[in-house]
Amino acid sequence: MPHLDAAFNLARWLTGNTADAEDVVQDAYLRAFRYLDAFRGDNFRVWLLTIVRNSFLDWLKDNRSGRNLFQPAPADLESTDPNPTPEAMLLDRVDGETLSILMARLPAEYREVLILREIEDLSYKDIAAVTGLPAGTVMSRLSRARLALRKAWTENEKKS
């Protein structure tokens, strides 16, 4: 299966667990197979990830438990701008488990742009294609997502 790991990773970060991610990815690949002839884009991975995201949104509609996953981000989540310099050093030491927990707590609309940009290395244009965001909004969404993650990380450091 082409790009199965990328598809699964995105679905796993969106749904938050393996079983639901598998359902979402399976649904996405069946859709992709059905509409293969309609694919006339320039990047098959971007097309697949778009379908994964759509499958996730449909899965949300069908799953009451998942309904709160895609709420808009609270306005104050990224309001304070933490002092970046010591943080840059701290981020180097962040362990995967902590980072996972902090990521999982972010709103899905932040999680998805972070995964698409930092892990999948998609361009702003491709992120816009996958998420349906206007191209001009991708950068500001990413900025807010990064600030939210940094803030969560800084607060976590203060606690420990």
């Binding site: 299966m1 399976q26 992709a32 694919f39 006339r40 990047n43 970046p84 962040v94 930092e118 892990i119």
Partner: protein
């Protein structure tokens, strides 16, 4: 560029999503602005932290099988000819679907080149997504070649390039642009390459030409009266190297 504007555009700079002029202007500002530089470093540190430390959730091996099983039993309408099914296809799928398929159309083709390329790329993707990479799954060219020759009136190049890093994985009968075709499947690490070839009006030799479509690399050439087209998501240089191996002789 003033500081406020530079600060606003910093993410695009960090993400390398600006044009060259803006990149130059931003770079000049950042060099003189400790606050923007620190911000940029934080963004880079964060990316590094995410790439190194964030768990990459890999698809469980069972998922590919599960999807393969759930795909429709009948091929989609555009696959009109799938005469053979092999029990080995499932294991090829489980094996990560790494392979190179060399498809040879038997009958004459004179399509627009771009629609032909679109068609073979579509066939390539389909062969990966459907549970049907190979009809005959073996690295033995003395099995694959006669298997194809028995079913198709041509003798395409079939050779195991395992030593060169492109092991033969098997063969498949396929359909290209409405014509019967044979596919020979190879592997390259974890990648899949489709190499399509067909008998064309123009039988003159043609040196390899590189193209890209839909995120896949394509190399096409003509030799011994057959047109070949290789399709894959491996790097263009690797695909070209494979093409040259195939051109090296029967």
């Amino acid at each position: 560029m003033n500081h406020d504007r530079a600060k606003m555009l910093l993410p695009a700079y960090a993400d390398r999503q600006t044009g060259p002029l803006r990149r130059f202007l931003l770079g000049r500002h950042i060099a003189r602005c400790p606050s923007c530089l620190a911000e940029l470093e934080t963004m880079h540190a964060m990316r590094t932290a995410m790439r190194i430390n964030l768990p990459m959730h890999r698809a469980p091996p069972s998922l590919a099988m599960r999807i393969g099983t759930a795909l429709p039993r009948e091929a989609p309408p555009s696959i009109r000819w799938r005469p053979m099914r092999s029990g080995m296809a499932g294991s090829a799928l489980a094996g990560g679907l790494a392979g190179i398929a060399l498809t040879v159309a038997v009958t004459q083709l004179s399509p627009q080149p771009d629609t032909l390329i679109a068609d073979v790329v579509s066939d390539h993707v389909r062969s990966l997504m459907a549970d049907h990479l190979t009809d005959v799954a073996t690295s033995d060219r003395h099995t694959v070649k006669p298997w194809l020759s028995d079913r198709l009136d041509l003798s395409p190049v079939v050779k195991d390039f395992a030593i060169e890093g492109y092991p033969l994985a098997g063969g498949r009968l396929d359909y290209v642009k409405g014509h019967r075709a044979a596919a020979i499947v190879y592997r390259r690490d974890k990648h899949v390459i489709n190499l399509f070839a067909f008998v064309s009006d123009d039988r003159s030799e043609l040196a390899p030409r590189q193209l890209a479509l839909n995120g896949f690399n394509v190399v096409r050439w003509r030799m011994d009266g057959l047109s070949y087209v290789a399709v894959s998501d491996v790097e263009a240089s690797q695909l070209l190297a494979f093409a040259r191996l195939v051109m090296g002789g029967p």
